[in-house]
Subunit: 220 residues, 2 copies
């Protein structure tokens, strides 16, 4: 990963929107997401991506500047798809509890996708190179999660919880969800769906609690 911040796109396919996406580019994107999630940046070879897509290796350089550019595109794609999946199943009415449940159900429905995203984020975070657009994409995911949940929890609890309390609860949920994702990477037998549902029940139960100091055991 060489850091050339000024990597001008070689060809069309207009950034992250605009998507004149030549079907081939889409194939490369899909395959890259799978491979980068499975095997770490340096373990994935361009030849491998070529084989998996059925495209000549040179074609990859036709659509992307270099391996890093492709990696960046992959991360951005993963975040975008997750948020789209959430929006696609967002209920029409504004029921805040439904919004919370929806975010968690998105994790069940898009388990594969989010697992890939978390896995790639871990790899990237512990690599030496920083790429602004990748940092932004990762931030977009976690801040998106925060904003969705904060708005819903604030509305659902109608002032019973302070903003600070809500922030702490969200950090907790978010941490647990990350745990679910890694754990299902490490242990194939792990029941991620059940783990997310536990959290959903807990979260919805919390929304009905009078306040956070009832004395019964609670994460905080």
């Amino acid at each position: 990963m060489t850091s050339s911040a000024t990597a001008a796109r070689k060809v069309k396919s207009a950034g992250r929107s605009g998507q004149r996406a030549s079907k081939n580019a889409a194939r490369i994107r899909d395959v890259s997401l799978d491979l980068f999630a499975q095997k770490s940046f340096s373990a994935v070879t361009i030849k491998e991506i070529g084989q998996a897509t059925g495209l000549n290796t040179a074609m990859i350089y036709y659509y992307f500047d270099d391996k890093e550019d492709l990696f960046r595109d992959t991360v951005e794609t993963a975040v975008q798809r997750t948020m789209e999946a959430f929006e696609a199943r967002r209920p029409a009415d504004g029921d805040p509890e439904a919004v919370i449940a929806n975010w968690l159900e998105t994790h069940v429905e898009q388990l594969e996708l989010i697992r890939k995203f978390v896995k790639i984020s871990v790899d990237y975070a512990s690599s030496a190179t920083r790429v602004a657009r990748i940092d932004d994409a990762i931030k977009r995911f976690y801040e998106g999660e925060h904003d969705i949940l904060a708005a819903a929890m604030s509305e659902a609890s109608k002032g019973r919880f302070s903003a600070a309390e809500i922030d702490r609860m969200i950090e907790l949920f978010s941490t647990y969800l990350d745990g679910v994702m890694v754990r299902s990477v490490i242990d194939p037998d792990f029941d991620a769906k059940a783990a997310v549902h536990s959290l959903r029940n807990y979260a919805l139960g919390l929304m009905h609690a009078e306040d956070l100091d009832e004395g019964s055991p609670r994460l905080r």
Copy 2:
């Protein structure tokens, strides 16, 4: 990572015990743990390890068969050190709540070490190659955690919780702890210590709960 299950040790340094450890081997081990935790198996180069240890690259092959052998040794070392750290602070008397608190405090005290272990496990789990001794080491960690907590929780709750209920609680704790570790990899500002302490309070509170069906929100 080529899989040669029958990799006979080239030189002495007797497995994982016996430790006639030639100081150099120890240096290599330490540096490797850092690097493999930072950079994924294939991103770490032997030359890099040489530079970081101040040893000639050929020396690494004097002490270890090949890169994979060194990696395996690294994982085994991490697990062993974690368990040793836990045992070192284990209280003399058999108070079960102190045992639970001790396991969690070990995570605070040895945050770096366990974070490295989890990071390496994630990398390894999602690589193609399986190495029996690495699988065993990872299993040893999670089963060790399970056994420590199961015994303590069983004793602390004196039959109020069934074995199945205890297993579910442990899976939950364990998942959350994994979440804490990844999150502190992804986000350097994450307060891992506070997150572990939240869990400790929650866990000890649970041990004092009459049963698991009090109606108040609880993860299960």
